[in-house]
Amino acid sequence: MRRALFAITGLAAGTTALVVLKGAPDARQVAQDLPAGAPGGTTAATPGAAPERAAAKPRPTGRPGTTAARTPGAGRTGTGAGPRSTPAAPRTSAAAPKSTTRKVTGPVVVTEFGNVQVQITVTGTKIVNAVALELPQGGQSDLRSNRVDDTYSGTSGTVVRQQDANLDTVSQATATSNGYRQSLQAALDQVR
């Protein structure tokens, strides 16, 4: 009796999980939260969606729910739950690299005014910060900066940084067909 109840609950949870997974994510959401590789259109959408939903729901067991439904003992015996929850763990951690923060340091660029080096901080696929580790100090470089600002009215110089927004399309230097495959535009084309 109790076992049957477990089975039914498990089945219900599994069905809910399937429905949640089926509910396609907003295309724009996926575009912003793009996995670095972004392989196939549909395959890219599903793994992107799954961890997001799993994280949103305080019920990570909902995902392997179909397996749990088939083995109602999962919630009952400790030994049964152990191996079940272990394979679930790498799945959540597999999503983790997308949201981890890493710093990427550019090369030292030698200019006639001094050395320039930029470091960016990347969270997932977004640049959240850009700092100049090394910039020419004083003297001629300041003169040049002022001269540039004075001369080029209507333009302002800032460290190039990433801007996050919903996009319809992306303008960029013409890529080869190969370059296109690894572009934001290709990702946009795939999710729509």
């Binding site: 793009l34 670095a36 972004a38 550019g106 660029v109 200019t111 320039v116 930029v118 960016i120 990347v122 696929t125 977004k126 640049i127 850009a130 100049a132 540039v148 001369t151 080029y152 009215s153 209507g154 333009t155 302002s156 110089g157 800032t158 460290v159 190039v160 940084r161 990433q162 801007q163 927004a165 919903n166 996009l167 319809d168 399309t169 992306v170 303008s171 960029q172 230097a173 013409t174 890529a175 080869t176 067909s177 370059g179 296109y180 690894q182 572009s183 934001l184 535009q185 290709a186 990702a187 946009l188 084309d189 729509r192």
Partner: protein
């Protein structure tokens, strides 16, 4: 009332001119009409590619360059393109040069021009809301299927999956030229070597072929291109230098 499940319009991507061309028709027209418009658009782009490519020895451009086909016997399109290239050579102080590589290669103008013509034809056919992205050079008209003006990201020059600016508008040509995709391939026609100093140049204006040519010319100019762009009438720009600085027109139509 429930929200519509599917968006109106049509989206299609095809590989033409050695790059990907993405068409987004946002008008709520019958599916058959949209398909026909997309077919016509890509047919035109492939036709241009066949005639203007420098990669096939039997293309019209190659035959003219070798002297096998007199200019008077060339198509009206080719003659118009070469006339525009000559104008652009003057407009850019020689930095846009269809002969920069030593032989006739108008492709710095052709792709943008072809996309501009395609966009004009779509408007004439009643598809007033569309976005045509020809390998990163974009012509937008009207609104996206969300009903909002189009939102155009400019690729971050160091990150293929990020943008450094987002533009918005209902009638814009946006062309970007840069050295991050194919290396230092833009030739400085004055020095004969690869252009350096600017990593990415985006030009916004009314005509995509002209915007593309201006962006390429500015890359060829190097840092001096920033001042040149700033004095360019009727066009706005954004520049990212090799050392990671962003300089742009204050009037650039930024989103938000």
């Amino acid at each position: 009332m429930t929200a519509p499940v599917t968006r109106p319009g049509l989206r299609r991507v095809e590989q033409v001119m050695g790059t990907a061309i993405s068409l987004d028709l946002a008008d709520d027209l019958p599916a058959a009409t949209l398909r026909e418009l997309a077919d016509d658009t890509f047919h035109w782009l492939r036709e241009v590619d066949a005639r203007f490519t420098t990669y096939a020895e039997d293309s019209e451009v190659r035959r003219v360059d070798r002297g096998e086909l007199p200019l008077s016997g060339a198509s009206a399109d080719l003659r118009a393109v070469l006339a525009r290239c000559a104008d652009l050579w003057g407009d850019t102080d020689g930095f846009f040069d269809a002969y920069a590589t030593g032989r006739l290669d108008p492709s710095g103008y052709v792709k943008g021009w072809a996309a501009q013509v395609a966009s004009d034809r779509l408007v004439a056919a009643g598809a007033v809301d569309h976005c045509l992205n020809a390998g990163g050079d974009i012509r937008v008209r009207g609104h996206s299927s969300s009903g909002q003006p189009w939102r155009i990201g400019v690729r971050h020059p160091w990150d293929a999956y990020a943008t450094c600016l987002v533009l918005t508008g209902t009638d814009l040509a946006v062309a970007t030229s840069g050295v991050y995709e194919r290396g230092h391939h833009v030739v400085d026609p004055r020095r004969g070597g690869p252009a350096r100093g600017l990593r990415s140049v985006t030009v916004v204006g009314p005509d995509l072929g002209v915007a593309d040519a201006y962006a390429t010319a500015a890359v060829a100019m190097g840092v001096a291109g920033i001042g040149w762009l700033d004095r360019l009438p009727g066009h706005l720009h954004a520049v990212v230098t090799d050392d990671g600085r962003l300089l742009r027109s204050t009037a650039l139509p930024l989103a938000d």
